[in-house]
């Protein structure tokens, strides 16, 4: 059912695609250029591509020593692994916890249901910047296990650092906790609209056959809402992977994520454009892959999340 359209529309389409992808393509090209080429002004595509920038960025992961580096100062590889751990674990947790909650909200009538559903909606609008101060304070001072406290008795001494206490700040767990909490409202909201569409008769049939509520949920409902789960997973991963502000407040030298490293490098006096572009490209690759392979799910999720909003 293709209509024959005016060539002007195709021109417009091409222009729009160029505008949307142009900056990303520019970053991609520049990440393969030496700084001399970027600054020297040989615009266009005629240059000698090099992977030197990527070698500099990933020097702590390489099994060989690149010739152009005397010292590996950018610990990008470690940050990349931190980002992966944090994003994957928080996505998995958010999904499991979120779809259970969404199921309860859609299918059961229980006391406090309206309160929960209203609270979930309201906290969706809280910006990360608002959480910065309290989360920084709590994670550093209140959410701690003291060695002389109750829980401390069950843990080995090596678990505690200086001062006889171990806090949530500076651990992967601390960052994961806040990401899960931040993403839950959105995931619950999106999944509700998918769970509503699951026919009740299917669940009842399973119940008649003797399945308990958890079996019904995991074996009947979950497989049916796979597209919704995919959309929710992509959105959660995107936030956890891209977030900067809270991670920068909560991480220490060993738990730094990629966005923090990029911002730190940006604010230095002498910007090495090539390396910066390479790190940016590495950070952008996972979301780009998701988009190219699952754009349909992303668009469905976006419409489901907004139309009901």
């Amino acid at each position: 059912m293709q209509e024959r359209a005016n060539p002007a529309f195709y021109a417009l389409l091409v222009a729009l695609i160029f505008m949307a992808v142009g900056p990303i393509f520019l970053m991609f090209i520049n990440s393969f250029k030496l700084d001399v080429d970027i600054i020297g002004g040989t615009t266009g595509l005629i240059f000698l591509p090099t992977i030197q920038n990527y070698e500099t960025a990933l020097c702590d992961l390489l099994w060989y020593e690149p010739d152009h580096l005397d010292f590996c100062s950018l610990k990008f590889g470690g940050a990349f692994i931190n980002s992966l751990i944090i994003a994957l674990i928080s996505t998995a947790l958010t999904l499991v916890i979120g779809c259970m909650a969404a199921y309860a909200l859609v299918r059961f009538n229980f006391m406090g249901r309206d309160t929960v559903s209203f609270t979930t909606l309201m906290v969706r609008m809280v910006p990360p910047a608002v959480l910065l101060v309290p989360v920084f304070g709590l994670w550093n001072n209140n959410f701690c296990i003291r060695e002389d406290g109750f829980a401390g008795m069950f843990l080995p001494e090596s678990f505690f650092g200086r001062g006889g206490e171990s806090c949530l700040a500076g651990t992967h767990g601390g960052i994961i906790l806040i990401y899960v909490a931040m993403n839950l409202p959105f995931v619950i909201w999106i999944l509700q609209s998918f769970i509503v569409q699951v026919p009740r008769s299917l669940e009842e049939a399973a119940r008649v056959d003797g399945a308990g509520p958890f079996q019904v949920f995991f074996l009947v409902v979950l497989p049916l809402i796979k597209p919704g789960l995919a959309a929710a997973a992509i959105f959660t991963f995107r936030i956890a992977w891209n977030e900067y502000l809270l991670a920068s407040a909560l991480s220490d030298r060993d738990t730094r994520t990629v966005p923090i490293l990029i911002v730190n490098n940006m604010s230095e006096f002498n910007v090495e454009w090539g390396v910066i572009m390479a790190t940016g490209m590495l950070l952008a690759i996972p979301p780009i892959i998701f988009t190219l392979f699952a754009s349909r799910q992303i668009i469905t999720g976006m419409t489901a999340g907004a139309v009901k909003g």
């Binding site: 229980f110 952008a284 668009i299």
Partner: protein
């Protein structure tokens, strides 16, 4: 009997993990922030050691010209990006609402800008805006024109342009989805009655899309207050205070000036502002639902 009891606990079992996590990591911190905003609080102190100062933080902020400046920058930023994005996004959707080849490719590539990290968006645009090596000034100079001081004199405008690039696709895709779910019969009837393309848009398409568009605009507005990383990477709030949005000021007050109490009060101001917008959004959707119901009833009665 025991199955009845089991059935009664089931929803709570399903709900419990989410409720616990949101209580510990969202609601408790929010309460903690309100509590801390009434205190004189230094990052090295734990909250127990701080001094209660009443509304001092709020009053100081209210009369603080720098805070007012950043509040107005935030409002200008948020409203101008939403206005521009709505016009562009809806306009493009109306223009491109037809079955032509390449639409699905456009949609796929169009969501790329919102999927990649704000930090990366910031660095791409900072490069393109760069006074000497940047793409824009280089293009201008190769055409024999003067370069523009993008991130200096026109910093706020440049930041707004970057946000428009990133988020217009969001509006475009939602508007397109709304357009394609319009009742075909109404459009068909208008076409038979000889309505021109313009008349169709103004009298039929836009009014029918309105509910979705209002919600989309408000969602985008609330999100526009969350923008931080793009601006941080591009300008760090500068030059001067010209692009320092409230979120950025909160983070600077907390980390650079080390005044957690003031930063908490500032967060609370931002939260109250957003609360007002959210309540506005709720009332609007409720009103629309009520109107739709009334209309449906009327139609039924007419039959």
């Amino acid at each position: 009997m025991s199955t009845a009891r089991a059935n009664r606990i089931t929803p709570y079992l399903f709900m419990a993990p989410a409720a616990v996590i949101m209580a510990i990591a969202l609601l408790y911190p929010l309460g903690f922030m309100v509590y801390g905003s009434f205190r004189d609080w230094d990052p090295s102190q734990s909250i127990g050691e701080t001094e209660f100062v009443g509304f001092k933080n709020y009053v100081t902020l209210w009369f603080d010209p720098a805070f007012r400046e950043s509040l107005s920058v935030t409002l200008i930023f948020a409203f101008s990006v939403v206005t521009a994005e709505m016009i562009l996004g809806v306009g493009l959707a109306l223009l491109l609402d037809r079955n032509i080849r390449g639409m699905s490719l456009l949609r796929t590539l169009f969501i790329l800008p919102m999927m990649i990290a704000p930090v990366v968006v910031g660095l791409m645009w900072r490069y393109m805006y760069h006074p000497t090596v940047g793409t824009f000034n280089r293009t201008l100079k190769s055409m024999g024109l003067e370069g523009v001081d993008w991130l200096g004199q026109h910093a706020l405008l440049s930041v707004i342009i970057a946000d428009i690039w990133q988020w217009t696709p969001f509006i475009f895709i939602l508007a397109l989805a709304a357009l394609q779910s319009l009742p075909r019969s109404a459009l068909e009837a208008a076409r038979i009655d000889g309505a021109t393309a313009w008349q169709q848009i103004i009298h039929i398409k836009l009014p029918l899309m309105m509910p979705v568009l209002v919600v989309t605009a408000l969602l985008r507005l609330i999100d526009a207050f969350k923008v931080l990383e793009v601006i941080l990477v591009m300008t760090e709030g500068g030059p001067g205070l010209s692009t320092e949005i409230v979120a950025l000021r909160i983070s600077r007050t907390a980390t650079e000036f080390r005044e957690l109490g003031t930063a908490a009060a500032m967060s609370n101001y931002l939260l109250i502002l957003l609360l007002l917008f959210t309540i506005g959004m709720f009332t609007l959707t409720r009103l629309q639902e009520a109107r739709a119901k009334r209309l449906a009833r009327q139609i039924q009665e007419d039959e």
